[in-house]
């Protein structure tokens, strides 16, 4: 099941296209012979969506199919060493990939959801605070937007967020992006795009929904916000993986290596007997 879910996640990342933040209404006009190249660029999968979990699975599968073969064909050592080396490598990859994947899976998604909830709620709160301290824009307006009760006409005519972009996003801040800049840029871009592109029917569908539904909207519409949460969850996942390597992986490797040495008839039976005799 985990494998199927992972394959599905990887394929989703492959299928999802690069988001150029283009207006949906922009006609796709290509010039002359560049048509196929432009189609290629527009259709390119968004590989930046590949997370640590998917990266680990890709590395694990390729390593398991190649590394033990290289070790088993290493002619510069004797046959016993070759066997134990190939067994050790295969065990290492299987243990590392399996436990690593489970830990990442167990930590990554809950952490992402937690950050997502905190970030979206905090962002809405930040915008409300900003609006309450700036004349000309009432907190009531933002309440209406976040609760999705503003009519389409009001939303289009009085979009209070469209002119906040320059205030929230200082020029050249992309390199040193901090949490507020990135998220506010995202929320402003999202609302801008939302106002420009949304159809009446769609708006009515969203209008009845509450803050929880707005949060779900972010999941669908705001890729950077999701990436940000993904970034945090990856940091948490890596920390968990490092702890797991020195505890679970080490114990599992020790146990499996003992079994493998016995199966391969390499385990030092005589030496053990001598040690026991000495004791």
């Amino acid at each position: 099941m985990i494998l199927i879910q992972l394959c599905s996640n990887i394929s989703k990342a492959m299928i999802s296209k690069v988001n150029y933040n283009l207006n949906k209404n922009t006609p796709m006009t290509f010039k002359g012979s560049s048509k196929s190249a432009a189609t290629f660029l527009r259709g390119m999968p968004d590989f930046t969506k590949i997370n640590m979990l998917q990266h680990r699975v890709i590395m694990g599968v390729t390593a398991l199919s190649i590394q033990p073969l290289i070790d088993y064909n290493n002619k510069s050592v004797d046959e016993d060493t070759r066997k134990s080396s190939a067994a050790k490598t295969a065990l290492k990859i299987i243990i590392g990939t399996t436990i690593g994947t489970i830990v990442r899976l167990a930590v990554s998604k809950p952490a992402e959801n937690l950050f997502h909830k905190v970030i979206v709620d905090k962002t809405i709160e930040n915008i409300k605070t900003y609006l309450s301290t700036n004349p000309g824009i009432s907190t009531g307006e933002i309440d209406k937007i976040t609760d999705g009760v503003l009519s389409l006409k009001e939303f289009k005519d009085n979009n209070p967020l469209s002119h906040l972009k320059s205030t929230f996003v200082p020029a050249g801040s992309s390199e040193k992006a901090n949490i507020k800049d990135v998220l506010l840029k995202e929320i402003v871009t999202y609302y801008d795009s939302f106002c420009r592109n949304i159809e009446k029917a769609d708006f009515d569908k969203y209008a009845k929904k509450t803050k929880a539904a707005i949060r779900n909207l972010f999941k669908e519409k705001a890729p950077t916000c999701i990436k940000f949460c993904g970034g945090f969850s990856d940091v948490i996942a890596i920390t968990a993986v490092v702890i797991e390597i020195f505890t679970l992986d080490r114990s599992a490797m020790n146990f499996c290596l003992s079994k493998a040495m016995k199966i391969l008839n390499i385990a030092p039976k005589n030496e053990e007997k001598k040690k026991e005799g000495k004791k």
Partner: protein, 160 residues
């Protein structure tokens, strides 16, 4: 719950780097886990009672070398592959993207990510085992020779 300020700063910086430089983030995160993994597994082999001393003489340096070579090649090849991928796309499609109003930086970032993954697969699964096996077998032979010489010396001493 209040998180200490330096930890928050570190978390924000690391989390932000996933957005601003996703390929670089995955690269350094991968290198960290590879390094920790090698040290952890070397410790497991050293503790293992069922692995003969002769095999340990090969397996422990092999594991540590695996980590060292793997991290070095991983960082080197993934960086090169990422840069080459980005440059290739910008050079080949830069003008066409400009003509059609497509942001080539976004496309190059995505392409750089997949070339860096290809680079990491080549470095980890092919280059690393070949290099570390060659070095580890030399270390094993040297250690074996030293052990043999010591054995002979002790046997001669006993006879004497």
């Amino acid at each position: 719950m209040n998180i200490p300020a330096p930890l928050t700063k570190l978390l924000v910086n690391l989390g932000s780097s996933k957005i601003t430089k996703p390929a670089t983030f995955v690269k350094y995160a991968g290198a960290t886990t590879i390094a920790c993994s090698s040290v952890g597994f070397a410790m497991a082999i050293a503790q293992n009672k069922d692995t003969p001393a002769k095999e340990k003489r090969f397996l422990i340096p092999q594991e540590l070398l695996d980590g060292l070579v793997n991290v070095t090649l991983f960082l080197l090849l993934t960086s090169k592959a990422q840069t080459l991928g980005e440059k290739f796309l910008k050079k080949k499609y830069g003008n066409i993207a400009k003509e059609n109003g497509i942001d080539i930086k976004v496309a190059a970032e995505s392409f750089g990510m997949i070339t860096s993954i290809v680079g990491s697969v080549i470095s980890q699964s092919i280059a690393t085992p070949l290099v570390r096996n060659a070095i580890a077998s030399k270390i094993q032979k040297n250690r074996q020779n030293k052990a043999d010489t010591q054995d002979r010396a002790t046997k001669i001493d006993k006879k004497a």
